[in-house]
């Protein structure tokens, strides 16, 4: 099945070359030259993944990301020309699922996209595909998450993060493990991606995100789902 990528990038040369290279990698690519076109593109083309450049002529990438996130759970990968910590965290806080920095190569980008579109795989000893954490139901197979019977809406990546925690049945997941399982990084992914996503996940599933009862931190080790 051909996956589709929406490329939001103002530099026409980069747009052209990334389209060519990503098509070589087997993706169907649509293009947007600014933020407005990008937001329209998400609703019109319903892409599988959005590649969003942060430096856009009409509006900044963070606000575009927030707008996209309001109406869609599509994975968004931020393309940044800067590596400042501030930029990365701000992009993730705005709802992005991952980030890459220029100079970027289509092959590496493709690995990132594949990871974000991956499904949660069952672990070997997994029998129950529905995991309960108190009143929080995590349906690993059906993708349904609910609290006290009320459905909780999560982005694709937030759900996969929760599902990876769920299939560990209460054991601690290191950041490295989560980076590998959810984002397809090896050992050396940016742990802030995990931390920001856990924070976002808590906003959705915890009654009091400041005092989490379901997704708790194991200091210096990682996170675990209380089951």
């Amino acid at each position: 099945m051909t996956r589709s990528v929406l490329l939001v990038e103002d530099d026409p040369r980069v747009r052209r070359v990334l389209r060519l290279a990503l098509e070589d990698e087997g993706y169907h690519v649509t293009e947007a030259a600014d933020g407005e076109q990008g937001v329209d593109g998400v609703t019109r083309d319903a892409p599988d993944v959005v590649l969003l450049d942060l430096m856009l002529p009409d509006r900044d990438g963070f606000s575009v990301c927030r707008t996209i996130r309001q109406g869609s759970d599509v994975p968004v990968i931020i393309v940044s020309a800067r590596t400042d910590s501030h930029d990365v965290v701000a992009g993730l806080e705005a709802g992005a699922d991952d980030y890459v920095t220029k100079p970027l190569v289509a092959k590496e980008l493709s690995a990132r996209i594949r990871a974000l579109l991956r499904r949660v795989e069952p672990s070997a000893h997994q029998h129950h595909r529905v995991v309960w954490s108190g009143d929080l139901r995590v349906g690993v197979d059906d993708g349904v998450v609910s609290r006290s019977g009320t459905p909780v809406s999560l982005s694709r990546t937030e759900f996969r993060l929760l599902a990876e925690l769920a299939v560990m049945e209460g054991s601690v997941c290191s950041r490295e493990h989560l980076l590998d399982r959810v984002w397809g990084y090896g050992y050396f992914g940016d742990s802030r991606i995990v931390d920001v996503h856990v924070r976002r996940l808590r906003m959705r599933v915890e009654p009091d995100p400041a005092n989490p009862r379901h997704v708790v931190t194991a200091r210096g080790l990682g996170y675990r789902l209380v089951v």
């Binding site: 290279a21 020309a81 910590s85 050992y187």
Partner: protein, 465 residues
Amino acid sequence: MGVTAPRGRRLQQWMSLPRSLRSRVTVAFGLLALALSALLAALAWTFVSSRLVTQRQDAGVRATTVDAEAITVALLRDRTQIPSLLDGLPDTGSSSSLLSSGGRWFTTSPTVGPRSLPAALVHTVDGGLVARQRIDVAGAPFLAVGVPLGSSVGGAYYEVFPLSDLDRTLHVLSVTLVVAALVTSLLGLAVGRFASRLALRPLVRFDEAASAVARGDLDTRLDAEGDPGLEGLAASFNRTAEALQQRVVADARFAGDVSHELRTPLTTMLNSMQVVRNREAELPPSVREPLALLHDELNRFRHLVVDLIEISRHDGGDPLVLETVHVGDLVRHAADAAAGRPVTEVDPAVRDVRRPGDKRRLERVLTNLVDNATVHGYGCVRVGVLPAPGAVRIEVDDAGPGVAPERRDRVFDRFASGGQRSSDGVGLGLSIVARHVEVHGGQVWVEERPGGGARFVVLLPVEEV
């Protein structure tokens, strides 16, 4: 960095001791005090000793003359009782008396006889003059005084006074003076040290500030603190430091800006290259070799730009992203990935060591060291993670030509490669290593690997091992 200074430079420093202004001032004070106190001691010695000797001689001559008059009077009365006459003289302490009368000698001492008296002395006294001379009897110093007895009696009277007590006094005096001179010199040194510290305090602060700037703390400034002697110096120093800092910041910003600007065209080039290489089979064979060259160069260019961005990030004060890092795991993942095969050996004693660290930067340290071993050391042969006092010791070994001792300091400079081939694209790698290790409070240096090759050592402090 724990790098040793080249031997030549160290020898030079040693030869030019005392090299600091302060120790020069201190030594000058000490020498001056020594010279002055030695002069004073010499003067005191000369004056006091000559005074004491003269006094003793005058007293001897006076006593002998008085006794000689008494003997003259007695002899005029009775010539027969000479021995009892000598014994009957007033007691003069430990002196001995000799009397020469009518060619015979009489003495009161069993040790001091006429033989003890020098012939010249006897001759002078026989000639009718009062004479005195220092003599040695059985190794001890004595003063012999001779007085001719009047022509009515004839003969001469001698008294011999022991001088050993005077010599002892003079000896004590000389020892006292030498000790005093030495103590004065030491006091001079102390005063010199104190005075130089007081006088050179502004210069010491200047030196500290200049050293801080040399170490890279470019925001160091000198405060004159109301010292008029320092104000001019402080002002010009601060101007220089300010200009230097602006220059460095501008350079760093320029390098950063340039590398950022290069990112977009580099993205276009790299991806175009990928598209072309995907169609390599469709290309005529004559194009393939230049294409491969272009591809390799493009990748090196990419590395260089990424390194430049890394350095400008660091210079721009990009903060550490700290988290708890499992050191052994991190080293194993980074080094094995960079070497493309398992090379890491983690000592069981440090298997579970964790410390706060910036994972990305530490990965970069290991990757760059292993890459350096690959390019300059014919490949990395081992990466060791070992316990060290208060630290974890990471060793990256290669079996290459090693790094010559005089180059070990400089390999961590920008664009200074470990080997002779400076165009292999790791010109910035080791300088990034040095910076990243430094921000983790660690040390890095290169040494010789036992059995040949280079060993890069990273020492990362940990709270407990």
